[in-house]
């Protein structure tokens, strides 16, 4: 009797202390709207699954804003345990050795299961150091795909079931669409001069973006994106713009690109696979087709895999309570579960991060029920990644991307040729790279 009572008392006492001592783990993220809600749902479910740790997600604005906020907080000693950093910030984070707690080390230190081979290779390659250690936890990765308006294709006399495979086919289809009056513009590109129109263009055509395996080999890298193929591609976009076949939707992500696809102004939109949910919700009154990114058959007959975008979760050093890191490790284990991953991937259109979650979706029959939902996966998995298609890794890439955007605009306004603009961008970009190298050596 006494034994039973004392056991009960002990149990009560234990549960009381554990609920009191639930360690809070702050997670700064950049997922607004529907994505943000889903992210919070993941955190809540994790919190409910155990009682030792409490993940507290905090929305900090856009990707650059979140990164800037985290860095400012780090300088002030107020950093969150986890911060979501977009792929462009990867170079900056990797160079900040004292600030980052590499995830492979975190998992080992806290004795959590960690299987690097379980992740999709093209995803995890982006976030590994030269020795192959994964430095940040893959979370939301996407890759650009092509969305097209089947109704407009039909109206223009094109086969709505066959998407253009090459840029030349796309240009011809666009011309037909504009000439027939089926839509005002053929196609529009988000990240027209950066992620889609230069980084992915270079990767798919197997052209170098920078030396030292696109920067994976170290800080001494220099830009090589001013090749004659890329220059010709930009000149071609300018020509297509003048013929109203291509529409530029602004710098960065291109604020006007997706809306002009939704409003049926443009027949084709190329953007992140994570736009899928948004496209399906907004494409009212027309049927959407999904297709891989076109390739340039004047450059290659064998398109490489596309490269990823999106973000990963970085763990920041300097938390006073070591328990926090234990909580982070536990949370990452939870995040890697196939069912958690598959749910996030299927809801958002981001790539499944692990092989297991891809297989989980296949077993569910998700991809058969949702045609087009596996295009992104197949596109990043095709062939063997080359040095040019593993990804890009450069310091201060945010700033360099702005430069490239501006140079692209001077091509579109006819001030420079593609070659001049890319040469200027490479020159200015290299100066920034040298500065980054100097600051981080």
């Amino acid at each position: 009797m006494f034994k039973k009572l004392s056991m009960a008392a002990l149990a009560v006492a234990l549960s009381a202390t554990s609920s009191l001592a639930a360690t809070e783990v702050t997670w700064w993220h950049a997922m607004g709207g529907e994505l943000g809600k889903k992210l919070e749902e993941i955190a809540t479910k994790f919190n409910e699954s155990q009682s030792d740790y409490k993940i507290v997600p905090v929305f900090k604005g856009t990707y650059p804003e979140t990164l800037t906020a985290a860095i400012a907080a780090f300088r002030a000693g107020q950093q969150p345990a986890i911060v979501q950093v977009f792929e462009v910030g990867t170079g900056t984070m990797m160079a900040a050795k004292g600030a980052v707690y590499p995830v492979y080390k975190l998992m080992a230190d806290n004795k959590e299961p960690w299987d690097p081979k379980g992740f999709l290779a093209p995803v995890v390659g982006y976030y590994s150091d030269a020795q192959g250690n994964i430095l940040s936890m893959p979370f939301n990765s996407s890759t650009p795909i092509m969305y097209y308006n089947k109704d407009v294709f039909q109206k223009a006399g094109l086969d709505p079931e066959v998407a253009p495979k090459t840029w030349a086919e796309l240009a011809a289809a666009g011309k037909k669409i504009v000439d027939s009056g089926a839509a005002q513009c053929g196609f529009t590109l988000s990240y027209a001069a950066t992620w889609v129109g230069l980084e992915n263009y270079s990767a798919i055509q197997n052209l170098p973006f920078g030396t030292l395996q696109n920067g994976f080999g170290g800080l001494k890298t220099e830009f090589k994106f001013n090749g004659k193929e890329q220059a010709a591609f930009w000149d071609n976009l300018k020509k297509l713009q003048d013929a109203k076949v291509f529409k530029y939707g602004g710098p960065g992500g291109g604020a006007e690109t997706a809306p002009s696809f939704y409003s049926q102004q443009c027949a084709v939109y190329m953007g992140s696979s994570a736009s899928r949910a948004g496209v399906i919700n907004n494409a009212k009154g027309f049927k959407v087709g999904f297709a891989p990114m076109p390739y340039d058959d004047t450059v290659t007959k064998d398109p490489k895999n596309s490269i990823i975008g999106g973000a990963t979760l970085w763990v920041l050093n300097g938390q006073k309570n070591a328990e926090v890191y234990k909580g982070v490790a536990k949370f990452f284990t939870y995040l890697s579960k196939p069912e958690v991953q598959a749910d996030w991937h299927q809801f958002t259109g981001y790539l499944p991060i692990t092989n297991a979650s891809y297989e989980f979706g296949q077993k569910q029959g998700y991809y058969e029920k949702n045609p087009g939902s596996d295009i992104a996966i197949k596109q990043i998995m095709r062939g063997t990644p080359s040095d040019n298609s593993k990804g890009v890794r450069f310091g201060n890439l945010t700033q360099i991307r702005d430069l490239i955007d501006q140079q692209f605009e001077s091509v579109l306004s006819g001030k420079k040729t593609g070659q001049q603009a890319l040469d200027d961008a490479a020159k200015a970009g290299n100066a920034i790279l040298r500065e980054f190298e100097a600051a981080n050596n």
């Binding site: 800037t68 900040a96 600030a99 006007e256 002009s260 001077s410």
Partner: protein, 294 residues
Amino acid sequence: MQTKRTVFQSRVLPYFLLAPQLIITLIFFVWPAAQAIRQSFLRQDPFGLKETFVWFANYTRLLDDPDYLNALGATFVFSVGVTVLSMSLSLMFAVCVNRVLRSGRFYTTLLVWPYAVAPAAAGLLWWFMFNPSIGIIPYLLTFVGYEWNHRLHTGDAMVLIIIAAAWKQISYNFLFFVAGLQSVPQSLTEAAAIDGAGPFKRFWTVVFPLLSPTTFFLAVINITYAMFDTFGIVDATTSGGPSQSTNILVYKVYADGFIGLNLGPSAAQSVILMLIVVVLTVVQFRWIERKVQY
């Protein structure tokens, strides 16, 4: 003219009374400025883990940078444009309101309203109206055969940010001009009228010279505004593009420092910007002031 003079009995009291303003100035102006100067001589990684003293490297690199020189030019065009446009429009409004006897107050309230709009909100407003695909103004311009696209045409972009920034400042200038106009003695204009001066001549030869202290003060304020306070408008409308044409100095400081995390060069830029405004203000007070009739 005799000025009023108050003599404090206590030695501490005046300092005590000045303290709030001094503390605010020190914390919000002097301290950050000192930080910027310090930062501009350093090369630092974004996280502040390592820093090296690099003397003037950040400055020399800036002066070699064609983008920076371009930003200087853009800032010149922009600040002159904003100052001239906002001051001439607000002077016109002020003169009009000053002639209206009964409903002057009502118009004044309406004209002062925009001043309460946050720069980012104002920027967004203009962004909508001038949006090349959905905006009303590009649509109307097509009727006169002009194809507005500030995404591509550098001139359009500059005009857009000048209009947006000037609009914001009209209220402020207007208030000062109205107050200035009301202090012009009626007897002077009446005397001029009796001497046969028409309304136009009366304004330019009597009223406008008497307004010169106000005009001068506003010119200083407007140039400072255009150089420092317009970042929100640029960010919301053009983000410095197309091809750097609206990348004014203050926006470049933000883009390089806060987005690009390139702190040293960004700090050097803000120090130069600070110097430009200091020099401009000194020049204005020393030389232009002499020609101003107070």
